[in-house]
Amino acid sequence: MSEQKNGSYVRPEPEEFVPAAATELNNLLQIVSSTVAMLENIWDNTPGSERYFDMLRKSVDRAAKVTAQLVKHVGGTDKKILMHPALQERIESPPPAAPSSTLHVSRCVMVVDDEPMALVLLQQILAQAGFAVVSAQSGFEALDFFRKDSSRFALVLLDLAMPLMDGEETFNHLRAIDPNVVVLLNTGFIENRRLDRMMANGLAGFLRRPYRPEEVITQIESVLENIKRGGTHKASNSLKVSS
């Protein structure tokens, strides 16, 4: 922060602050969106409460539209979802109702996020969808788990904005351990350039926060299904990702 004089204070430059604020707002909206879904799941159907849930969902969507403007305004990607070109073809088609192949694919997902609340919610959402979940609260912890047994994880769901080692750095270290690692990035803000760079380095996909719980499940399922069928997302044969 710049030098300040008494009686007034100076904030970080807008171009530093606004992306950070947008990240934070989208993270918080993500928490609201997830809690609404969780709550509705365990709600015992009191008559008349559907409209409240409906109201909550609509408000989250409205707020998300506003933060999306903010993200776009400061050079963040306005893409909601992005898949590696090699995996792209299947993202529009719905995931199969049940695992169709006999080939064994692990259903273990590692979730990396420094926000404990986000971690708890993602864990519950994924567990409900039938995934085994390992939570890591920092990039360091994620790498520790991954180094011990990288074959255990079908996919890593990675946050971008984390203290001391961010998602991109974590991603690069993960790839150094296993170049075939499947990483989905989920964050409320990422610059277009940065996303392109990570996609070119073999990121399997990206999902912008806030999303509904079913959206992240759909994306994870379709990535895993695709990989099971022999799809690949390696950096070596990646197409150029358009911005």
Binding site: G7, A20, E24, L28, Y52
Partner: protein, 377 residues
Amino acid sequence: MTALVLQAFEGLANNRIFEGIETDLLEQIAPSVHVVQLAEGEVIFREGDPGDLLYLVGEGSVRISKSGRGGEQETLGVIQPGNFFGEMALLDGQPRSAMATAVGNTLLGTVDEPTFQHILELAPSRLHMNFLRSVTERLRSVNSHFISEVMRSERLSLVGSMANSIIHDLKNPICIIRSGCDLIGERSNDPGQLQLLRMMDNAVDGMLAMTQELLDCARGHSELKCETVTIWHLLDELNTRSLCLLPGKNVQFAKDIRYDGEIRVDFARFVRVLCNLIKNACEAMPQGGILTIATDLIDHEVVIRISDTGIGIPPEILQRVFEPFVTHGKSHGTGLGMAIAKSIVTAHQGKISVSSVQGKGTTVEVLLPVPAFAALP
């Protein structure tokens, strides 16, 4: 010419304006150059003063400024030793267009108009060359300064107008989420559901605070609106805002009030800072613990301490705890919250520091000057 003046002139003879001019010519000029000593902050001339001298900087430096937005002096440039200023008024006979102030102890040589004309006659081409070069350089620097200022203010106003509409557009859905939470909460007494609602409520608080920060950021400089309040009033406000939530988090509250007099603060901002610190303290005690607020008066300063019995902060994070969060990410614990806290406390002419022992807890200490100290018995 005294020895002192000669010695002083030696520094001035190396001035850029004399570059390439022969020594014997300079010796002719030396007696007409007057040497002045100035102390830090001394004004050399003001905007609008008649301009009749050219100044050569020997030691120290000189700030050239012009009154800008809100009547504040905006720096156009700083003239370093070996350079000169004030030539414009001599050339066009207009009053001074900017203000010149000494930065640190400064030694100047002044050249009046007849002497200036004399130098011009002695070494016309050389002097014009030196002049042109210097003026061009200055023009360039002022230009780029001006452009970056314009760009900055454009950026600020762009973000500002955007932030205003964001606040407006975001507040509605956020408030609806809050009332939705309340309505659903009234229909439930299931602890699991109530916990989810509390998480949602916290997230809503976070969003409201962040929209406020965005608005402040868009305004760039924020002036404090200070009022005098007692420590009790402050505690009462903290109680309604965040302390009342402590039992639900299994956190006990302890207070140690040794100063209960007045403080002078921007109440809304200061309360936000303390709420943030209380929130951090609670997050450090996920299994519960004790949160202590202590106040005291030490060496004419009001001390406000917020301590927890939580997990503590690792040393590598502790030393970076006040850094703004571009590199960090989140607002809790290590992020933006602390950077903003520091900025706001500093604006109150106060200080903030953090000490922590891992596994034992963290203490944040805020020091504020006592309001109207002289009025105290």
